[in-house]
Subunit: 243 residues, 2 copies
């Protein structure tokens, strides 16, 4: 699947081009296009800031006009911070990257334009876009810079990768306890507590045991944990503190 | 609803504390906690970098130990770049902020810890967490800095706000055309084309018209667009170029 091209339109600071390259590669995007960079090309400051992501700069397409970098793209998004006096669909980064994935899955080529640091895209640039992306920032404080906008777009592209599990239990070599292992631990614990008259008064004993059993079955204990707790119970029950 | 506390554990550079404050406020988080900042507190560099987000620093809780800042929190996440030798649930930022929203909706207090810039959280810190957050970066290039990690977490918190529509059509004062307005335009267009024998050969005329009609109904035309196109058709059909 083609990943989207990240199009920097008239970027000013080489540092920001380098930071954008890093942000892209962090989330697996490596296809950069640059329109009319202020300080020419190649740019030493960009290379210095990109460090490990230098290959994104090495393979970037650099052209004088937006028309040239968009010529082979089937669908182009423009990122804008403010509303424009233009009729266009406006999408969140989430919806935009959903759409980009759907188009890419059909073999189509997608691009996302980002404007110059100070003023953003001109309306003339935005007119070329099929749709706009606006990041849902706090309306009372919106200060995203160029590399941060690229980062959030690239993050959204990767976030929607179905192969990334939303949650796993990291077991560090252990395995989750089996029901029988938890029951075995509970039997020891209940027996030790019962011998010390923990389940009292009598008429509450059954519900107290049920709560205790429920708690231990609810906790995500590993087999190692149950063995540790066997030792804890045995020591508490059998040994008397020395002091 | 309480928003999560962002906990910076032993942060080193004031600049990064300031940048983290900005990243938080961009997505509406304003509850920062700081454990044992390397350069003391308050920190001039942090204030300088935070600029408009200075109030996040002004109201930050600053303490010597992680225990103190976590004492009133019901659920704490630890962000880690690498796998730890500890049994813990590991979540994507997306799943973690879903969980944080569910807990906050019950009135519970949630925190997210971020480690020092160079080495990240110590295992001793991580042990205090209920779950880990790992950003799904490109395994071949993972270079997120502290403020970027905070930015992505804050973005996820806000992204899941149900009040943010994923897509709108920005109409710039116009309104979408009614079906009748599109039909009226099509009638004029078809009549003008028919007079110039566009629909030819005869046996294809019906399907050519159907395609044309389908195209215009598929386009998201505004009422203003239909009036513009009426003028375009009329001029093309009635005027002869002068040159």
């Amino acid at each position: 699947m083609n990943s989207p091209a990240i199009i920097l339109v008239r970027p000013q600071m080489g540092e920001n081009i380098g930071a954008a390259a890093r942000a892209m590669l962090n989330f697996g995007l490596d296809h950069m296009r640059i329109v009319d960079p202020r300080d020419g090309w190649p740019n030493e400051r960009a290379v210095a800031l990109a460090s490990g992501a230098g290959r994104v700069l090495d393979t970037a397409m650099v052209r004088d006009t937006l028309g040239e970098v968009c010529a082979d793209l089937n669908y182009v998004f423009a990122t804008t911070a403010r509303s424009r006096d233009l009729t266009k669909p406006v999408m969140t980064p989430e919806r935009a990257m959903q759409h980009a994935r759907a188009l890419s899955a059909q073999g189509l080529k997608v691009g996302v334009m980002f404007g110059p640091e100070r003023a953003g895209l001109e309306n003339e640039d935005v007119i070329r876009a099929d749709a706009l992306i606006t990041v849902p920032v706090n309306p009372d404080f919106a200060s995203l810079n160029l590399a941060q906008c690229v980062l959030l777009t690239a993050y959204e592209w990767r976030r929607q990768d179905a192969d990334i599990p939303p949650e796993v239990l990291e077991l560090a070599g252990a395995r989750l306890a089996e029901g029988g292992e938890v029951e075995h631990l509970l039997d020891r614990l209940v027996k030790a507590l019962d011998a010390r008259r923990f389940f009292w008064p009598e008429h509450k004993a059954a519900s107290m045991q049920a709560s205790l059993r429920n708690m231990f079955h609810r906790l995500p204990l590993t087999e190692t944990d149950t063995r540790t707790l066997h030792g804890v119970v045995r020591h508490l029950a059998e040994r008397t503190p020395k002091d």
